[in-house]
Amino acid sequence: MLKIIIPTIMLIPLTWMSKPNMIWINTTTYGLLISLISLFYLNQPSDNTLNSSLMFFSDSLSAPLLALTTWLLPLMLMASQHHLSKEPLTRKKLYISMLILLQLFLIMTFTASELIFFYILFEATLIPTLIIITRWGNQTERLNAGLYFLFYTLMGSLPLLVALLYIHNFMGSLNFLMIQYWIQPLPNSWSNIFLWLACMMAFMVKMPLYGLHLWLPKAHVEAPIAGSMVLAAVLLKLGGYGMMRITTLLNPLTNFMAYPFMMLSLWGMIMTSSICLRQTDLKSLIAYSSVSHMALVIVAVLIQTPWSYMGATALMIAHGLTSSMLFCLANSNYERIHSRTMILARGLQTLLPLMAAWWLLASLTNLALPPTINLIGELFVVMSSFSWSNITIILMGINIIITALYSLYMLITTQRGKYSHHIKNIKPSFTRENALMTLHLLPLLLLSLNPKIILGPIY
């Protein structure tokens, strides 16, 4: 694992010591090289995990997330080049260092084998994200957004710290690989209920669960593009990853405790999808669609069947790439008209046809078109929730329809129709933007050829 961590640490001296006109090129190139290294971890032995050291390990659940994280860093750097071009050099380097630091913490989080180590890094990812949102966001609401983000997550995760220390005391060690063999069933009692809640609330807030999702639209909308990308693509998946790890310790109480959260998720995904239909703010629409997709992941993780875990993993990876791509597309709009309102830049297909192709593909993957991995994820989740309870098929079906509705609404409003007369002199698409979209889309489409690698440890 050090072969990924040390190069990522070394990216920071790279930014600070490069020549001013080479900082973007250097960091993007080496970031891409690091992501190539991480792809080697996708080759997992089928019955066990790849143990790298005493502290790090990677299995079929964390390897795709690791690849997603390292793949996203060069993409974030490419997306940030335009809005940082006017800033002084030191601030550019600071921004890039924050992104690299965040990347480092995320890599270590996904490969941590001890749960307290995981917790420390889970919290550590909050600091660079907070700095990116609050320092480099664009509107005054970003201060409030940073506060909501930090405090919602911390309120959920402090009980997790206490719970982890209690489990450490109880079981003797928190090394994830070892406690899998020492698990005792957790009977139903009031103190165990609180233990379950303490363990799970941190990840529920991070996912986010429907009732606790208030931080997400604020944070996503106010963050600069790299912040939005990493928030949507990776930080939400931290919640899913954490839930999938910690539910191994919490059986069979999960069957009893899962009901309120299942109801919140099932209802919430329909609610947030419906809100998307009425949004005027493009980034807010994508943010609420993230909540809706993550509610599916929560449902899948709480059901705890093999198919649902496969669906959750696939959905996390697919949603990461799709959501990040949608934010890049929204940002390309924002950089041209400096407004997030959708109807201000309509009819872009006549002006920027290639970008319209990327919009089309992104919207199609967002609504889970076959044979993309989005569909595999959603389909597995829908089928396993049907086996859990037959009635959920109605709610899931309504959700799929509304997802399709708002994705197409977003596509049609921004691309089709007559263009608004004041956007005739926007700049044409940069090659950098087209490359960004391609780099998002290629993994998404290629993975539909071999989805086995993202289906997780149960496959």
């Binding site: 600071l94 919290e123 550590a124 320092r135 405090f151 309120m155 402090l158 220390l165 005391n169």
Partner: protein, 337 residues
């Protein structure tokens, strides 16, 4: 203040604390406390204005009362055990009295009312000495009598201190009062763990002193005592603003900075002793502390406040204030995890 006098007074302060830490005879400990208190009064009154005099008077009154209470506890212990050696206190009344006296000296709730007002009335340098060095002596005595302290009393004081420190600091804009409430809250964390594992208290004290020293030194660089004057720092010393950012997050106890170490260890010790609700409550209340630290960083590092000049960087003379030991202090206060 003339240098020879300053040296003598500083030496007396240090000698006082040393005497407290190194003696085993209760009378000598009391002497050490009195020496310390009497010598620090001129330091508190360095600026000769009514506010400083009020602050020194309040400090003197509370500390003298606390010393007298301590003496009473010592006398009762003498009555029941017949010896002056500091060791396990056999009588519960004596133990409670001593604990109350020492917590009064520290500024734990419900004896915390003097801390913000005294800290506000004095200069930044004196405030630094007050909040860091002055905590060492009472803490060392609490460490030595820790087997006999009544746990319920101290835990109650600790819990209320954390709450008071959190809520009291929310409405403040003066930096010295913010640091005073932060001191109250951190003392609460330290008091909570003394009876269970005193070593963690020493760890917390060390890290707290390091972080508070760094914070005060950064404030002194700019001679800023209000949030407003701190917010002009981006104009003069942009690097210091990043330092303040990290230091404030470390004081708030965010991983992976070193301010998280004491909180983690204390919660670990408390859960090992089957207390679950109290550490959860303390941890969540520490978020209140984090809120006002974060508000400081918002105005300082993360936004650019409108300032008096229109240039990007203020032109100024060559920088002359000495920042002794500042880099190592900052590194140790943030990177120890």
């Amino acid at each position: 203040m003339k240098p020879p006098i300053l040296i003598i007074i500083m030496a007396t302060i240090m000698t006082g604390t040393m005497i407290v830490m190194l003696s085993s005879h209760w009378l000598l400990i009391w002497i050490g406390f009195e020496m310390n208190m009497l010598a620090i009064i001129p330091i508190l009154m360095k600026k000769y204005n009514p506010r400083a005099m009020e602050a020194s008077t309040k400090y003197f009154l509370t500390q003298a009362t606390a010393s007298m209470l301590l003496m009473m506890g010592v006398t009762i212990n003498l009555l029941y055990s017949g010896q002056w050696v500091i060791s396990k206190i056999s009588n519960p009344i004596a133990s409670i009295m001593m604990t109350t006296a020492l917590t009064m000296k520290l500024g734990l709730s419900p004896f915390h009312f003097w801390v913000p007002e005294v800290t506000q009335g004095i200069t930044l340098m004196s405030g630094m000495i007050l909040l860091t060095w002055q905590k060492i002596a009472p803490m060392s005595i609490l460490y030595q009598i820790s087997p006999s302290i009544n746990t319920n009393l101290l835990m109650l004081m600790a819990l209320t201190s954390v709450l008071v420190g959190g809520w009291g600091g929310l409405n403040q804009t003066q930096l010295r009062k913010i640091m005073a409430y932060s001191s109250i809250a951190h003392m609460g964390w330290m008091a909570a763990i003394i009876t269970y594992n005193p070593t963690m208290m020493v760890l917390n004290l060390t890290l707290y002193i390091l972080m508070t020293l760094s914070t005060f030194m950064l404030f002194m660089l700019n001679s800023s005592t209000t949030t407003l004057s701190l917010s002009h720092m981006w104009n003069k010393f942009p690097l210091i603003t990043s330092m303040i950012l990290i230091l404030m997050l470390s004081l708030g106890g965010l991983p992976p900075l070193s301010g998280f170490i004491p909180k983690w260890m204390i919660i670990q010790e408390l859960t090992k002793n089957n207390m679950i609700i109290i550490p959860t409550l303390m941890a969540i209340t520490a978020l209140l502390n984090l809120y006002f630290y974060l508000r400081l960083t918002y105005s300082t590092a993360l936004t650019m406040f409108p300032s008096t000049n229109n240039m990007k960087m203020k032109w100024q003379f060559e920088y002359t204030k000495k920042a002794t030991l500042l880099p190592p202090l900052i590194i140790t206060s943030t990177m120890l995890l």
